[in-house]
Amino acid sequence: MQLELSPEDAEFRDRVREVFTTKVPQEIRDTVLEGRHLTRDQIVESQRALNAEGLAVPHWPVEWGGQDWTDLQRHLWHEEMQRAGVPIPLAFNASMIGPVLAQFGTEEQKQRFLPPTANLDIWWSQGFSEPDAGSDLASLRTAAVRDGDDWVVNGQKTWTTLGQYGDWIFTLVRTDPEVKKQAGISMLLIDMTTPGVEVRPIELIDGGHEVNEVWFSDVRVPGDLLVGEPGGGWTIAKFLLGNERVGVAPVGATKRALATLKTTAGDLMDDPLVRARVAELENELLALELTALRVVAHSSDGAPHPASSVLKLRGTVLQQAVSELALDLAGPASLAARAEDDSPQEGWARRTAPTYLNLRKASIYGGSNEIQRQIISRTILGL
């Protein structure tokens, strides 16, 4: 047991910190640090800057742009990135479909998709959830039927995050309705400009347009865009969702948000109750960060440690708790959420209510927190 970073790891940390703060435009980082919305172009620009430095997809296999780092180095990369206000590389590309294709894709699929996926030349969307298939994802109904070499897809996906920017969508579809529900699922990659694909916006409680419905009517998909084997989609989905769970505990970003809040809070920081809430949250975030480090140290062969459910569960709760504190500190100023830009209320305070509302999503997606409890009680505790 030893606390200090080794000299190599300390040097590593300094190096990535340097890249993050010099290669990603200040304007983009300020946008993140102040909790404002990023444009599509900013997300793309930032990921390309990282990719040019080999820092966009370090967890991929080395031959596809990954880095031969230790788990600790990956953790440092992730934390330093959030700390510097660098947007995390688009999860659909970097954490989801990239590792899936690297693991399950054909050589042709890898060559075709992995480089542009790392560089965000292709923007991927995740087409898993359906109106009647949420936590029980395996009950999905969007159907793909063989027609010659092609698949013809009909059905509806929903909650598709940033689908309005999507170039391609990786979907789970039912290719065999006769077998046990998990066994009839396959993964298809679909070009979103294909005729028959329609994206419809959903407005969320914060007023934002972040998710969409995606409809498929007789969409023709070439057979070489199926990943793995027909019927192998569920295995791939489990692999992908396991990676997702690890990625969704935004420890560094939440720490950063709390640090910023201490500054914006001004005189309110003299209130002993506010100080106590901040101190308590800081302590809980420390426990979470340390747990991330401890869990990372025990994960083998890249498979998520079952305790990563702990990170998802507590990470999202703390992310939400910080947003609640921000809202309470903003007080009446938070009513000006949708006021014009020249509102006399401060920008940070005006953003608190939408942010608070928006972050309720965190305990729903990525496997809801109830599903995480299920994983813990079954897989870890054997209940």
């Binding site: 047991m1 790891d9 100080r275 420390l286 340390l290 401890r294 140290a297 299920q374 209940l383």
Partner: protein, 380 residues
């Protein structure tokens, strides 16, 4: 940065666990031990001495083993697992720690050598009735006449005080603002009233009346900072002990949910219960990380870092202890309420540790006072 135990540490854990399993693997044995006059098992204390466990923190020059904080933490975790009533924290970690921190060479060699060998038991008297975790003494006052020091006042609770041979007492030095000194007092020469705490471990009320005392280290020197540091170290080791308790409680609770039947099925059929067990596990893992981290900070030797770590781990384990301790009883139902069953006694033990060493309120107050001194809390 490394959270894994090496082979020697692992071996130490297994050895201590084996010994404690023989002693208290059955909770009934613990019940019998706390029912004796001493409130613990002297034979076991002797075996801990033979194993070198009592001398772990002390240098070889002082008759100890010279092990590090991680090793001491391992012992405390194992003691916690079986709710061992032996006064290890009080005698070795706290009182022994004070002697090691402020005693002269001769005092250390004498007291710590005999403590390590199991020949004497120490207890730290640092709290006055109504006192709350202060390193500055106010209940006991020291007086000096020529070279002769005496103490007056009351210390309470003195954990392990009734069975101790030697008391290590913090006392206000003569003169305004002179600070606090640390004294050694022959326990047989003062009035002691022993009692049991809620978990049936023992403490005492000790009255000093012109009691002869020997200053530890240089006479008359203000030792407030050292006293605070040793309290911080003890807090961190207490958190290790609490971790052991909580680990046992989570295991006992999940085992119980799998075996206890109601409505014709085992209780783990009910998601309302398994989810609560999952939440206990979450608290346990987070507290575990804090305990390992706080223990590792000690090796760095920076007393402010250790003080901060003590507050952080104190808060974290106190919160986790409330959650886990209460849920462990609730999920057991009536059996969790019985003295016969370890789970509820563990909850009592967690409370005793926290109220003795520093509860959540105390640590949060201290953390709150420093919250604007830093931008972010650095883990590494």
């Amino acid at each position: 940065m490394d959270f894994t135990y090496d082979d020697e540490q692992q071996a130490l854990r297994e050895a201590v666990r084996g010994l404690l399993k023989d002693a208290y693997g059955d909770h009934e044995a613990r019940r019998q031990a706390v029912a004796t006059d001493d409130g613990f098992d002297r034979a076991l204390w002797g075996r801990l001495a033979e194993m070198g466990v009592l001398g772990l923190p002390f240098s070889e020059d002082d008759g100890g083993v010279g092990a590090g904080p991680v090793e001491i933490g391992i012992v405390c975790q194992e003691l916690g697992r079986v709710l061992a009533p032996e006064p290890y924290l009080a005698s070795v970690v706290h009182a022994g720690g004070l002697v090691a921190a402020v005693g002269s060479r001769e005092q250390k060699a004498d007291l710590l050598g005999r403590l390590s060998a199991g020949e004497v038991q120490l207890a730290a008297a640092d709290t006055s009735p109504g006192g709350r975790w202060a390193s500055r003494a106010d209940g006991v006052r020291a007086s000096v006449d020529g070279d002769t020091w005496t103490l007056d006042g009351v210390a309470d609770p003195v954990v392990g005080g009734a069975t101790a041979d030697v008391l290590v007492v913090t006392a206000a030095l003569p003169g305004d603002g002179a600070g606090t000194g640390v004294f050694v007092v022959d326990a047989a020469a003062v009035t002691r009233t022993g009692y049991a705490a809620a978990d049936l471990t023992r403490a005492a009320s000790v009255t000093f009346e012109a009691s002869a005392a020997t200053p530890l280290g240089e006479p008359g020197r203000d030792l407030t900072d050292s006293i605070a540091t040793i309290s911080d170290l003890t807090r961190i080791m207490g958190a290790n002990q609490a971790l052991g308790v909580m680990q046992s409680q989570v295991r006992a609770t999940t085992d119980y949910l799998k075996s206890r039947k109601q409505f014709g099925v085992t209780l783990n059929t009910f998601q309302a219960l398994t989810f609560r067990a999952a939440d206990m596990y979450v608290e346990l893992e987070l507290a575990h990380s804090m305990v390992d981290w706080a223990t590792m900070t000690i090796a760095g030797g920076d007393r402010e870092v250790v003080a901060d770590a003590a507050d952080r781990v104190g808060l974290a384990t106190a919160r986790a202890g409330r959650h886990i301790g209460q849920e462990a009883i609730q999920l057991h139902g009536g059996i969790g309420m019985t003295a016969e069953y370890a789970v509820g006694v563990g909850t009592a033990h967690l409370e005793v540790l926290d109220q003795w060493l520093g509860n959540a309120h105390h640590h949060l107050t201290r953390l709150s006072s420093r919250v604007t001194d830093h931008e972010l809390v650095e883990a590494v």
